[in-house]
């Protein structure tokens, strides 16, 4: 079942482009073409406007919450070519930093796993991806990957910090060597995996889409020795990319579905077993991998409501 538990009237004056809950699922950040970013307290079905953040001079495309260990921090990116990092200090939200290092619309922001520190990846229509690293005392260090995606990067998504399989292999908590990695998708129809090895470099190029890659989402790690990325595109296709970390570095795509319209956004559930796909015609669908490895649509969500078909969820698990 998908059932609405809270309907938040954002009072935005134009299109909403993103809505994200914080780490705990108690606060909602929204952003809009009306150039504002809003934060609501949505605990217990309520909706209290905590902040109405003004500072962007164009439509705001995305918002991203930093991990709470760094405090209450929200990043937003806009068509005005800027990234703004907002911070709550003593109950008040204020602009903490403004990054104006892009020459075109900044389309996507994504915080790195908290294990790496406070690092923000920003993808822009100028084709570049910039990485902002907080170095203390209000200072941010900027690294830029130029020409990551010709005529535009549309999405960035970090790999989880947990080396897949480490849950099983290193129960002692011995920290494996993390390699910072993220995926990006762009107008060159490509998904690229960038990796920091001294400096950032392109590690993989994933080709399957025949049109702009609209979004990429690296699945949260659930302790299995595979990495998974979902990608969606203007071409209506959604692919699930998997890579067996142990054996190879080869990513293989599996077509989840071909929609008739552009697919804008993909989002993994925290347990990485359900993928929410939002596409043109305002269609939101939920997908789940069946026991035999096929991706099956389990729900059509309309205005936050939907039923869940049980066919996939009930695998025969009773054999010993």
């Amino acid at each position: 079942m998908v059932s609405v538990i809270n309907t938040v009237d954002t009072s935005h004056e134009d299109m909403i482009h993103d809505a994200q809950m914080d780490y705990y699922g108690t606060r909602l950040a929204t952003c809009s073409s009306d150039r504002s970013v809003k934060i609501f307290d949505v605990r217990n079905g309520g909706q209290i406007l905590i902040a109405d953040l003004r500072g962007h001079e164009g439509p705001v495309w995305q918002v991203a919450w930093a991990h709470p260990m760094y405090g209450n921090i929200l990043a937003s990116c806009s068509y005005d070519r800027k990234v703004i990092i907002w911070r709550e200090e003593n109950g008040t939200w204020e602009k903490s930093h403004e990054h104006a290092g892009h020459d075109s619309s900044v389309n996507s922001v994504c915080w790195a796993p908290h294990d790496y520190g406070l690092i923000l990846a920003c993808g822009s229509s100028d084709g570049a991806i910039s990485l902002l690293t907080y170095t203390g005392e209000g200072q941010w260090e900027v690294k830029k990957i130029n020409n990551a995606h010709t005529i535009g990067c549309n999405a960035v998504s970090w790999a989880p910090a947990v080396v897949p399989g480490s849950l099983i292999d290193h129960p002692s908590g011995q920290k494996p060597n993390y390699i910072k990695r993220f995926a990006s998708g762009g107008c060159d129809n490509l998904i690229k995996l960038e990796e920091e090895d001294g400096q950032w470099k392109e590690e993989q190029k994933l080709e399957a889409h025949s049109d702009w890659v609209r979004d990429v989402a690296w699945a949260p790690s659930i302790g299995l020795p595979t990495s998974t990325i979902a990608s969606c595109s203007q071409d209506g296709r959604v692919f699930i990319w998997t890579c067996d970390d142990a054996s190879s570095n080869t990513w293989s795509p599996k077509l989840l579905h071909k929609f008739n319209d552009v697919v804008w956004h993909v989002s993994w559930s925290i347990t990485a077993n359900i993928l929410a796909v939002s596409g043109g015609d305002n269609k939101v669908t939920l997908w789940k991998e069946s026991v035999d490895g096929q991706w099956v649509c389990i729900s059509d969500v309309n205005k936050g409501q939907g039923s869940v078909s049980a066919s996939v969820t009930e695998g025969q698990q009773n054999e010993q």
């Binding site: 079942m1 998908v2 059932s3 538990i5 309907t7 954002t10 009072s11 935005h12 004056e13 299109m15 909403i16 482009h17 993103d18 809505a19 994200q20 914080d22 780490y23 073409s33 217990n44 495309w61 709470p68 260990m69 760094y70 068509y79 020459d103 075109s104 619309s105 389309n107 908290h114 520190g117 406070l118 100028d126 907080y134 170095t135 203390g136 020409n147 005529i151 535009g152 549309n154 190029k205 049109d211 702009w212 659930i222 804008w264 989002s267 559930s269 347990t271 929410a276 305002n282 939920l286 729900s299 969500v301 205005k303 936050g304 409501q305 939907g306 869940v308 695998g315 698990q317 054999e319």
Partner: protein, 1098 residues
């Protein structure tokens, strides 16, 4: 920003939107001659490869043509969605010809690339357009008002849209409507535009501003609004774009006057109706919003005019422009910097040279700096307004707790002017539940735990089991909550005590019959043969020699009988010798049984016989070694390659109560990632933990790494289904594994309630004002506040008294005030001495049992324990402190050592199981620990007999305990005192007339004990003392037949007269005349006591 360029003076056509990759076809322009004045013509196809950062475009094919072109279009005719290169290139030539080319053949390099050709037109064909609804329909326009509609399926005979317009004029533009498929518009340099309705086959409207200055160079329909179109004029005196609405055809709706000189071409974006490209003789390329007239973007171009401009149908941000300087340029309107391109070249260079001192000058090269002014130039700002195609209208994102945040923007009907409509901008937060079965099963489990209906729960599971194995597992688990678990385990393994008992009864009877008949006279031979030697040895009391002689003569039975008379040591030696000699199949089993070497069985049995091995362990093993032995067997099974055996290991671990190993074994055998299979595991684990808690008084709050991982995985799954509270309940509590603590914190906050007292340590992470440099892994997890919530993992140690108490209650003395029992008076801390004794003796238990509060604290994470909020503490009914209602394995004693196989028959295994004897460990401390050692020490079976009395124990018994912090034993003690009478009442007193039996027997045991010297004897006596409880119970119940009771009284009398042999005779008489099952529980012990008394002469 310029992406690509090609040096050609040519007409251009992008491949259709369906086509991937994107191609650009160019055909030599008929109107412009290039610098060479060459009259050669060609048709070329280039690929747009954006992953190549260079400005070059990759040429895919060149076809030398005999024609030059006025117009080139690429239609998606007969193109399927996955076709690589397809569709049809339609070219308008100089001499009234229309030529159809097959682009795939051009790319393939074929010679025959022309599909069809028709030269019906007179004069150059300047206008061509493909109907977007029926891609087989192409409209063309030429001189003399000629307009033809071509059906590519029937190319030979074109149609006309109606009668030719008069006066005849050139057709410079033609365009199909974007919304209504039978509407076509044409325009001519005269400035007139005509709209045709193909269904009526006539022009329906003529559009003209009557200025005579509109020299139409461009015509385009509105992508969304059927009645709107734009006309562009190349007249320098009127360099405008007019927007017309056919509903108000008297004058233009809007006039865009952004160009200074005549406009040569326009293109309306199909992806965003607010973007109209125009290029003119002022050498500008502008992008304007035709709905407002605003210029959104001016492309940075050189000073050359462009005569053709096209949006790329597939990539909405890309356009191409053909200029008179012989170049086709591909641009992006998204702005951006060309620095990247340059930088790439620089990078290439420096990587070729290497950054460090390529020339060996001793100085590394300085970093290359791009001159500042180029950088300035290279930045191109994007469109003033964001194009529609990057405005995400919809989104759905998951967040913690299985919540889905969605928003959608209802598509605005774009009326003219497209003003903002009053729209509700709502965001929906929804709960996603996908695992209903998982949740309901989790719910059932929680209910079972809360209501403690474990047996019911297990039974339901057994009934619902679909496999034998599953059934077995649940049966094993269920047994944990039942009385006599070991016995029931045995039953489950296929060893029914009753059956065995019956067999034994038979044997016993035979022997009994045989015994009395052995009483005739006999000769004592002292001859020289072996019999004689033995006789001599016996007569001299030299048992050792006698035994040796018997052994020598292979008279095993005689040897052992004699050895029994000769004392323990001799017996032991004799047994050893016997085993050394004996070779029968079951010798090893017998050896193990007699030598109590269960390890031997478990370690070396054939794994096919694991059931038997487990049965043996269940029957004989002492509590301190029981778990270890089960474990050992489990481990062996697990390591065996046979997967069937591997799963059986689970059963051993269940017997052992080894949760961690069960998890490991189960995980190995199962794919645990599926919620239901995880549920399968968790159900078993939770139940087993409860069982272990109940039976072994073990502190189950310590959670192994693997279990913790599984439990937090489980909690994560529950949380993902929105069951935050349940997730919190299952999450292991006293672990300081960072991920679990983080999850707990996250769950608490996700519940929406501010966490009590969360003010100071706000988050389980050190608030980081990030240190410079590499921030390491999260520090400070240990500061996490311990959040108090429902949970099944007690932080609090199980109060030892609760468990031991019911065990130690001197049931034989109902009037005995409970306060007299040390264990009762002292409450939880310290545990009663008896408890300590067991704990010390049992190395396993010592590690697990809380022996002191100090020990307990070592388990608790090192942060200060916050004061619990008075009311915030609402545990479920404390499972951890439930009074024991069943026997305690740690008090379990193995059967009497079989020292006299004949006289002390095996008897009913059940009785053996039940009989609690103080065995080996006891003598170490029992005498000092128990001031009244004659009191029946452990009597767990009273609980067995009245299990209901215990379960029926008022909730007050357990509930207040929940709240008692470990440091507050008073509450518990109080409870014990209160509940004590309830318990006592259930025991009947021994009838007065029989009380003498008890006092006599106990007195005798005491006397024996005080004069016995070797520990083994003492142990036997202690054991006997306990076992006699069965007799007393039977006396209480008055279930013994009069013959037996009178016989017992006779024995008692003979004891009083210290005539033990007479007692023994009476004993034999009773045994031989009574029902075996009636007496088997105590008669053998009584015999032991009498024999000992006789031997000791007390």
């Amino acid at each position: 920003m310029k992406l690509k360029e090609v040096d050609r003076t040519a007409m251009q056509a992008w491949s259709p939107a369906q086509n991937h990759p994107i191609y650009l076809a160019t055909g030599t322009s008929a109107q412009q001659l290039d610098a060479t004045f060459s009259t050669n013509a060609s048709l070329e196809i280039f690929e747009l490869d954006l992953s190549d950062p260079s400005l070059d475009m990759k040429s895919c094919a060149t076809f030398s043509s005999s024609h030059r072109y006025h117009k080139l279009i690429w239609g998606p005719y007969k193109m399927d969605s996955k076709g690589d290169v397809s569709g049809v290139l339609i070219a308008g030539g100089e001499n009234g010809n229309i030529i159809l080319y097959d682009p795939s053949k051009i790319i393939a390099g074929d010679k025959e690339v022309v599909i069809a050709q028709n030269d019906k037109h007179t004069g150059p064909v300047r206008a061509l357009d493909v109907n977007i609804f029926q891609t087989n329909l192409v409209a063309s326009g030429a001189n003399e008002s000629e307009i033809y509609i071509w059906d590519l399926n029937n190319f030979a005979t074109p149609m006309t849209p109606g009668a030719k317009t008069q006066p005849p004029e050139d057709i410079s533009c033609i365009a199909w409507n974007r919304q209504v498929q039978h509407i076509l518009a044409s325009a001519s340099p005269s400035g007139r535009a005509t709209v045709w309705d193909l269904r009526k086959n006539e022009p329906i409207i003529k559009v003209s501003d009557h200025s005579n200055r509109m020299h139409c160079s461009g015509l385009a329909w509105h992508p969304d609004v059927a009645t709107q179109m734009v006309l562009a004029s190349e007249d320098d005196r009127l360099p405008v774009i007019q927007m017309w609405d056919l509903r108000f055809a008297s004058s233009p709706l809007r006039v865009l006057e952004n160009h200074a000189r005549g406009i040569l071409a326009i293109a309306w974006s199909m992806a965003d109706p607010e973007l109209l490209l125009s290029c003119g003789k002022d050498a500008k390329i502008l992008c304007s919003n035709p709905n407002t007239g605003e210029v959104l973007y001016e492309l940075p171009t050189n000073t050359q005019w462009c005569f053709d401009i096209q949006w790329c149908p597939r990539n909405p941000a890309v356009l191409s422009a053909a200029s008179f300087d012989g170049r086709i340029s591909v641009y992006s309107i998204m702005g951006g910097s060309t620095d990247g391109l340059r930088q790439k070249q620089v990078d290439k260079l420096s990587s070729s040279f290497g950054n460090l001192d390529p020339f060996g000058t001793g100085q590394p090269l300085p970093p290359l700096q791009i001159p500042q002014q180029t950088a300035q130039h290279s930045i191109v700002l994007p469109l003033k307004k964001p194009p529609k195609w990057i405005r995400r209208p919809v989104g759905a994102s998951f967040s913690f707790g299985g919540k889905l945040v969605t928003f959608e923007n209802v598509r605005m009907p774009s009326h003219q002017g497209a003003e903002q409509q009053q729209q509700q901008h709502h965001v929906f937060i929804s709960q996603v539940v996908t695992e209903k079965e998982f949740l309901s099963r989790s719910d059932q489990l929680q209910q079972a735990v809360q209501s403690q209906g474990f047996i019911n729960y297990c039974q339901k599971k057994i009934d619902a089991s679909q496999t034998e194995f599953e059934k077995n597992v649940w049966s094993f688990l269920k047994v944990n909550f039942e009385d006599d678990s070991r016995g029931k385990y045995l039953e489950l393994l296929g060893y029914r005590k009753e059956d065995l008992g019956k067999k034994h009864i038979k044997e016993e009877k035979e022997e009994s019959e045989f015994l009395p008949s052995s009483g005739g006279t006999f000769n004592i031979s002292v001859s020289g043969d072996i019999d004689g030697l033995i006789t001599q040895a016996l007569l001299t009391g030299n048992f050792e020699s006698a035994v040796d002689l018997c052994l020598h003569d292979n008279r095993m039975a005689d040897a052992i009988i004699l050895a029994i008379a000769g004392g323990q040591e001799l017996l032991a030696r004799t047994q050893k010798k016997y085993f050394a000699k004996s070779q029968s199949k079951i010798t090893r089993l017998i050896t193990a049984v007699v030598m109590k070497n269960w390890k031997e069985i478990v370690e070396s049995c054939d794994l096919k016989n694991w059931r038997e091995a487990l049965a043996a362990v269940l029957t004989y093993a002492k509590p301190d070694e029981f778990s270890a032995l089960c474990d050992l067997l489990g481990t062996r099974l697990e390591n065996e390659g046979d997967s069937l055996l591997q799963t059986q290991a689970c059963l051993c671990y269940i017997c052992a109560g080894n949760v961690e190993k069960l998890v490991a074994c189960w995980t190995k055998a199962q794919d645990g990632s599926h919620p239901l299979s995880l549920q399968d595991l968790i159900e078993k684990v939770v139940i087993l933990r409860k069982a272990v808690q109940l039976t072994q008084a073990m502190d189950t709050s310590t959670v192994g790494v693997l279990l913790a991982a599984k439990m937090s995985q489980y909690a994560n799954l529950l949380a993902a289904q929105g069951s935050i509270a349940a997730a919190l309940a299952f999450l292991p509590d006293n672990t300081n594994q960072p991920n679990i603590m983080q999850l707990r914190d996250r769950l608490c906050r996700a519940q929406g309630e501010p966490v009590a007292g969360h003010e100071s340590p706000k988050i389980p992470y050190e608030k980081q004002q990030l240190p410079k440099g590499r921030p390491g892994p999260v520090a400070g997890h240990h500061q996490m506040p311990r959040v108090q919530t429902q949970q099944y993992y007690p932080h609090v140690r199980i109060a030892p008294t609760v468990t031991t108490w019911s065990n130690k209650t001197p049931t034989a003395l109902p009037s005995h005030p409970p306060a007299a029992s040390p264990s009762d008076t002292q409450g939880e801390n310290p545990p009663p001495p008896g408890f300590i004794m067991h704990g010390n003796v049992n190395p396993n238990a010592a590690g697990q049992l809380p022996t002191s509060p100090g020990h307990m604290h070592t388990q608790v994470p090192p942060y200060p324990q916050p004061q619990r909020p008075q009311n915030g503490w609402n545990d479920p009914p404390a499972l951890n402190r439930v009074p024991k209602k069943k026997k305690m394995p740690e008090n379990f004693m193995p059967p009497v050592p079989i020292t006299s196989p004949i006289m002390n028959p095996l008897g009913d295994p059940q009785s053996q199981m039940l009989q609690q004897q103080p065995s080996a460990p006891v003598p170490l401390s029992s005498q000092s620990s128990f001031p009244q050692p004659h009191l029946p020490g452990g009597q767990p079976f009273h609980g067995v007999q009245q299990p209901l009395g215990q379960t029926g124990m008022p909730p007050s018994f357990s509930k207040p305990n929940i709240e008692g912090a470990p440091g507050a034993p008073i509450g518990n003690t109080f409870q014990h005192v209160q509940s004590l009478p309830t318990k006592k009442i259930t025991k009947k007193p021994i009838p007065d007339e029989h009380l003498i039996l008890k006092t006599t027997f106990e007195d005798l045991i005491q006397r024996c004990l005080s004069s016995a010297t070797d520990p083994q004897t003492k142990r036997k006596l202690d054991d006997a003392s306990k076992r006699l409880e069965f007799l007393y119970d039977k006396l209480r119940e008055q279930t013994l037949s009069p013959t037996i009771t009178s016989g017992l009284h006779n024995i008692a009398r003979s004891i009083e007269t210290r005539n033990y042999s007479e007692g023994l005779t009476m004993h034999t008489h009773i045994v031989s005349t009574s029902n075996f099952s009636e007496t088997s529980a105590f008669m053998p012990v009584l015999k032991v006591v009498l024999t000992q008394a006789n031997k000791l002469g007390v």
